[in-house]
Amino acid sequence: MVRSPVRNRISKIGVELEGGWDKDPGILIAADGSVQFPSPISDGGLPALGSYGQKMAALMVGEIRSNPMDLSEISAFILKVYPQLVNETCGLHVHMSLIRKYFYQRLMDPSYQDTVFETVSAWAKEKKFSKSHPIWKRLSGGHATCMRQFLADAQVRVARKKYDHNVPYSRYTAINYPWLQHKTVECRLLPMFEDAPDAVEGVLLVVDTTNKFLAKQRDKEPKHLIRLPITNDLFVRHYDINI
């Protein structure tokens, strides 16, 4: 467990779990075009032979979105509905709403994203994930769906889900700020893990990192002055017209 005694400033947590289910998880699996598994159809257009082909043909692919939950509920939810099959195309997205808008604004800082990268990276090393584990590509900062970019001020103004990449308001950043859509900060850095307990640990790490980051923000919020002093300057303009 990675939880610490830091004061919790997160109101609710939600997760999106991407993958494939061969058993009904008892909750809606929404379509998600980014999740891809090898086709169960062989080159000849026939179902692939063997148990793999049968398993893939029966697979329900997409993502499960949780309701907003209390921190105490999230682990049990993940363990209950975790997909049986995941690969490098699957992401684990953590949505966090804050108890005050002010805390949300304090997370709108590039150093918050840097902090999440640092702590997740340290944790991944500690867990000794293999070199081929999808977490490393995401931690490289160049993954197409979780870029290490800071676009918060544009992202908070996006009212509808948009799928554009390489735009100033792209949601495909490691930390996304979908304020108008969900009133949450979204961490898109985690991949789906083969083992559900690792996913629980990863989610709790992100939550804990967020609370610790907020706890360190003790500097007083500055007031930005907009002033125009009185001057007795006279704007003088001369026009000389020669006719």
């Binding site: 808008k101 308001y169 300057d233 006279l234």
Partner: protein, 160 residues
């Protein structure tokens, strides 16, 4: 021109402060009597509800602005025709100019000024840049509408 003192320091025509607060962002507006008189005279005393234009400005009491006719002065540099709108909309290129319509607020020159609450979230860098842009826009507005101007026109005739 009468003067008024803010914080016992400077003598200002416009004195605003923008900051991030618990509920989002807040702008405190205080202007010199001459600024409000300018808008009062331009409007011939007619005022309009801010809600008529936009709903991004909040306050504990209904906000009104002095009516102000559209004109072409520096419309690409700032706007004073967007009460109720965001101060600087970085998402929309048509609105990515500073919005200083708050200068038109009825009562902005009264003691204590007026506080506007914005349901908008900004990073620290964004709020700094917004304040800087608003400051520059106020200066341009002053040059366009308020500053005393002396124009001397000399017409001479060249001997033929």
């Amino acid at each position: 021109m009468e003067t008024f003192t803010v914080d016992g320091k400077d003598t200002q025509l416009i004195m605003c402060s923008l900051s991030r607060v618990r509920a989002g962002a807040t702008l405190h507006v205080l202007v010199h009597q001459d600024i409000e008189d300018f808008f009062r005279n331009s409007s011939k005393g007619m005022t309009e509800a801010v809600e008529k234009y936009g709903r991004c400005w909040g306050s504990h009491k209904p906000l009104r602005v002095w009516a102000f006719p559209l004109c072409e002065e520096n419309r690409s540099v700032y706007t004073i025709w967007a009460p109720g709108a965001l101060l600087l909309d970085i998402m929309d290129t048509d609105l990515s100019i500073p919005n200083i319509s708050f200068l038109r607020l009825v009562g902005a020159s009264q003691e204590g000024g007026i506080t506007i609450d914005f349901d908008m979230l900004m990073s620290r860098k964004c709020i700094q840049e917004t304040a800087k842009a608003l400051s520059e826009a106020c200066s341009t507005f002053y040059n366009d509408f308020i500053q005393n101007i002396s124009i001397r026109i000399s017409i001479s005739k060249t001997a033929q």
